[in-house]
């Protein structure tokens, strides 16, 4: 997603170059649950990595271990080349935004943001200046004197972001900061977090189970699956070239269409498509995106239209192949007009590489 730098916000007093983060072979078990099962994760300086995965896959655990709020059973953590594995949370210099509202209720917005600076012994004038700048950065310069309960949920999370960034943290950590907000605010705020993050250049780890959110703001998305990282890649690559079946099925919608793999290519319906590394050999199921399937009415086609759903600019058609496989196709609404329920159609598949998984 492209990021526009808005000039109406005052730039922060310092732009940190960002530090590299290295998490190696992290393990954590709770009783019999393997919350983290040998997680390796590397963040480049200034990069924003989003951890994405289903509930309970260990995202929060990974983040909390990086923050020092949870101990690991094994593995190491280093930031900017400094080993932090056994450093307590309050010495790690990480700014954190929580899912739950976490502003200190007894302090004003300004004092909340200045809290970390006060602990670092900065002068009063200095603190107020910096906290004010940070509040301007998140667009809340006018709300300095308010208390947390006088702010909306979105505003509270903005303040929490300003508070986390005020200390110029080595790493910024966000654990589903938007999940308590309603859809519209969520989109607004996620773009804003992205803007602020690239303004200040802090290396950032963002955790979410919302894939749209992840794909929209990340430099790279790491997909987690029961305590490990299945794949970490830029959003577009993750979407077009999933490395595992789990990634292919978890990110975006995928059809599963019978396929026959033969070396570097696979035959799917009538098309011959290149296969992605990691594909199964022989007979399998190709994971095909709905937008890679095009449909045209054809008396002699091999599929039947089951239903057509109008979604605005695009429509989604559900079809059955003659062998009974259900296939979804996404097409321009203008083109969907020609489809009638029960009519015969011909499918074409865009010749982009596909992942074929065992049936």
């Amino acid at each position: 997603m492209s990021v526009t730098q808005s000039s109406s916000h005052s730039a922060p007093s310092t732009v940190s170059p960002g530090l590299a983060v290295e998490m190696t072979a992290l393990r954590r078990t709770y009783g019999t649950v393997n919350a983290l099962d040998g997680l390796d994760l590397h963040l480049d300086p200034g990069e924003m990595v989003v951890l994405l995965g289903p509930s309970g896959c260990g995202k929060t655990t990974a983040l909390r271990i990086l923050a020092g709020l949870e101990r690991q059973d094994a593995g190491t953590i280093s930031v900017g080349g400094r080993d932090l594995t056994h450093v307590p949370a309050n010495k790690r210099d990480m700014g954190m935004v929580f899912q739950a509202y976490s502003l200190f209720p007894h302090l004003t917005v300004l004092d909340n943001v200045a809290f970390g600076l006060k602990l670092r012994g900065r002068s009063r004038k200095d603190r107020r200046q910096r906290a004010g700048d940070m509040l301007d950065l998140v667009g809340l310069g006018e709300q300095k004197a308010r208390y947390a309960h006088q702010l909306s949920g979105g505003q509270q999370q903005r303040v929490a972001l300003a508070r986390a960034l005020a200390i110029e943290p080595a790493v910024l950590l966000l654990d589903e900061p938007l999940s308590a907000l309603d859809a519209k605010v969520r989109v607004q705020l996620r773009d804003e977090i992205r803007r602020v993050q690239s303004d200040v250049g802090t290396t950032t780890l963002f955790v979410t189970h919302d894939q749209e959110e992840a794909l929209a703001i990340a430099d790279r998305v790491g997909v987690m699956n029961s305590g490990r990282l299945d794949q970490i890649a830029p959003p577009a690559e993750l979407y077009s070239s999933p490395a595992t079946r789990f990634v292919g099925e978890f990110v975006g919608l995928s059809n599963r269409i019978p396929a026959q793999v033969d070396g570097e290519t696979a035959v799917v319906l009538d098309a011959r498509l290149p296969v992605l590394p990691g594909s199964a050999a022989g007979a399998g199921l190709a994971l095909v995106r709905p937008e890679s399937v095009s449909v045209e009415p054809d008396e002699h086609g091999h599929a039947t239209v089951v239903s057509v759903a109008f979604l605005g600019p695009v429509s989604r058609a559900t079809l059955t192949l003659d062998d009974g496989t259900l296939v979804m196709a996404q097409l321009a609404s203008a083109a969907a007009g020609g489809l009638v329920v029960g009519g015969r159609v011909r499918l074409r598949i865009t010749p982009s590489p596909v992942l074929v998984v065992g049936a």
């Binding site: 949370a89 309050n90 010495k91 200190f104 209720p105 809290f115 670092r120």
Partner: protein, 260 residues
Amino acid sequence: MIGAWVWRVSRWLLLLAFAAFFLLPLVALLDFSTTIPRTGERTGAAWQSLLEDPQMTQAIKTSLLLALFTVIGMVVLLVPTMIWVKLRVPRASRLVEFLCLLPLTIPALVVVVGIKNVYAWVTYLIGDSALTLTFIYVVLVLPYAYRSIDAALSSIDAGTLSEAARSLGAGWFTVITRVITPNIWPGVLGGAFISVALVLGEYTVSSLLNYETLPVVIVLLSKSDAPQSMAASLASILFAAALLVVLSFLDRRRRTTVRK
């Protein structure tokens, strides 16, 4: 219409009944403490003696100091412990609750008998003063203070607040004193008030251990100088009530500044 009228009248009657129930004894105390028993003349002598009779002033001083020390002891002991347990060893919270509520189940008499031997050592080590009662009183007020502080602690998200503070660089001492405690202050104030009220009215332990606290002296005097003991009773009740008003006022002011 008539229903509403009846409702309003009965509400007033109820209110009056309660007021009479609570106020009549106080009025009686006031009346009795300002009357010379034989002649029925009005006099302020009993009230004046509260400030002049050395036994009485000494007892008042002792009880007030005891209340102060008990509150300090309770706050210093209980607040950090409860926060620590809540944040760091939640498994132990049941145990702490049990320990804190224990004094409630043990009659004061038993406490005194059990503690007499210990007190021989206490007086041997730090001298024989009524203020040594502080140790017992801190234990006696635990159940009430615990309840009050526990309610306040449960009403905030202590875990998230402390984690936020720690990630900003706060050590545990800072988390307890500057992040959690300010947010449970109403509960602490409530606990403190109950402690004061309890200490000002505690008779069994102090009398059995032969210390002259206010309630003990009031009972002593009721045999020789009834009006003076009545005046002292009324004064201590009024003091506690005034304290309650001040505390709730403080609390309300806090909330309104927060809400401004």
